[in-house]
Amino acid sequence: MANKKIDKKNISKLLKKWSQEFSVFVPSLENNEAIMAEWDGKDISFLDWYRNTVKPPKANFLPLMEKLFSFKKRKGNYQIEVPPADKSKQLIFGIRPCDARALTILDMTFTDAYEDPYYLARRRNTVLVGMTCTDPYDSCFCTSLEGSPSDAANVDLMLTDIGDSFLMEAVTDKGKKLIASASELKDATSADESKATEVKDAAASKITRKIDARDIDKKLLASFDDKDYWEKVAAKCISCGICTFLCPTCYCFDINDEMVKNQGARFRNWDSCAFPVYTKMPMENPREEKWHRIRQKVCHKYEFYPMNFGVIACTGCGRCIRLCPVNWDITQALNSLPVKV
């Protein structure tokens, strides 16, 4: 089926149509912080300022905090109640290729051996409308990790900005269904197609930050015990949770109970391997020191995930570099590994 095209001015009509069936999430500014939030029905100014969100779209699937179940205690015995499955159908408009690929990487953990009902209920009810990254940051390095600013593999429908309109490539059946009944679309001409390719190549060439990801897992395994190296790399880290909370491929969570009088609930909330209490046991803490924790963060993504799932758990979105209070840069840590395999 030939690609479609939509003029930018018709975007809000399209979003309105989709809003009947989905709750539509678009990039929005909240106190000058870009996040994915429910569309207010008219504002599409994000088409001008949007580059990428601070909080990744993973937050729509693994929220900052969510109630797993609630419990009531009546005369010593407990009733447990699971909240009804999240039936709301989501549509995330404008997700970048790196964040979409990150969701695919998260799926591996949340379906491996045991299925996570909460994450998967939302994931299976969500349609992803991706948007080619025309303006990558200087901290982006997706091209070093088999990704690209226009990689459409993990979205249902891909939009590419070709001037005053968007080229629309339906990738999955869901994507085809999305644009099947839309009236505002025109067929894309070959000029549009070549303009899109031009835009995509231009975007990819803007990315200057690189890492050599070949055999990175073997290099890390070889330098796993190089205490001096990891201490040097970890020296300036302040062990806060920014790089992990705002990373699209980080999924670690904590489980905590809340209870007032005899009613309560069990919550799941984000947790970080950067925090010392993350692995703290009453008698000892295997990752007491900062260099243990920094090593765990890097090796989990670039060594353990490849060993378990055959894919590097990082999509080069650059958030951890942009948002780190001390500008700790994972690409520098990886490029200066002491071991050459």
Partner: protein
């Protein structure tokens, strides 16, 4: 060392939700040593009470609603499954809350999780159990299992130690194992008191003196991390190969199903790829991480 496949563990998920606990009721609490109590409990749901089964070495997540959840190995043997037993060492928020519960109180139960001891590997072999302090709890499940299937295993050596005589757990079991002719047991304490007549010394040194033969034997080790770190070299000196050395490890856990990310040693998750490992599996990560 995945002896049991995952599907065996998923048979008892509540509403197919890996985070949802069943309700269990405490039937008896035995004080083992200062701060350690063994909780005997059973499912409130009749059907589960009959159907529930597990394998020696697996663990469960016990919850005190409103306080939280914690990981406990199932210390009773699969062969005696009229009820379940977990040993609770009073060290943190959940364990303290558990100790405040009385008989008849309700708890949450998720499980069974993790793999189990490698029964095929151990069949027809000499078994050498090396336990320290409350580390005897997971071994106890396997010891009773082996004794209840005595013909499947050659001789059984148990080397068990604790900080002081009062800290010895499951004294009543130690007694019956002591009387059992087919079991050769050595108990030691780091430092004895007036009434202590038995041996004194750390478990690794006592193990070295007992010097069980490594010939077609399997060593199963569990205790505080420092004891494990010193026991492996001794076993190696006695001729045990890394594949013959089995241990069950303890880590901070929250989900118990390999999702929350914290209990890893290298790429292995202790809650799902373990807790039972052979030393061969974790050798290259264990030195610096454990």
């Amino acid at each position: 060392m995945t002896v049991t496949d995952i599907s065996q563990r998923k048979r008892f998920l509540a509403e197919d939700n890996i985070y949802l606990p069943h309700i269990v009721v405490i039937e008896k609490i035995i004080d083992e040593s200062p701060g350690v109590g063994t909780f005997h409990f059973n499912f409130k749901d009749e059907k589960l009470r009959k159907e529930f089964s597990f394998e020696a070495g697996q663990f469960a997540e016990l919850s005190v609603f409103g306080v939280g959840e914690a990981t406990f190995c199932i210390t009773s043997s699969p062969t005696r499954s009229d009820h379940l037993e977990c040993a609770v060492n009073r060290v943190g928020a959940v364990t303290n809350a558990l100790h405040r519960l009385g008989v008849g109180a309700e708890m949450g139960f998720r499980g069974p999780f993790g793999n189990s001891f490698p029964l095929e590997l151990m069949e027809g072999k000499n078994l050498v159990f090396v336990g320290g302090g409350i580390g005897l709890a997971p071994l106890r499940s396997l010891i009773w299992y082996a004794i209840d299937n005595r013909d499947k295993y050659k001789n059984i050596d148990i080397i068990y130690g604790a900080r002081s005589p009062a800290d010895l757990s499951f004294k009543y079991d130690l007694e019956s194992w002591g009387k059992d002719k087919t079991v050769n047991m050595v108990t030691t304490v780091d430092k004895g008191d007036k009434s202590w007549k038995g041996r004194e010394g750390f478990v690794p040194t006592v193990l070295e003196q007992a010097a069980p033969s490594a010939k077609d034997a399997v060593a199963i080790v569990c205790g505080p991390p420092v004891m494990i770190r010193f026991t492996f070299p001794v076993l190696e000196k006695l001729g045990f190969t890394p594949e013959q050395m089995i241990t069950t490890l303890e880590k901070r856990m929250k989900c118990g199903v390999g999702k929350c990310g914290r209990c890893n040693i290298g790429n292995l998750y202790v809650c799902r790829d373990g807790p039972v490992f052979s030393y061969a599996q974790i050798k290259n990560f264990i030195s610096s991480e454990y």
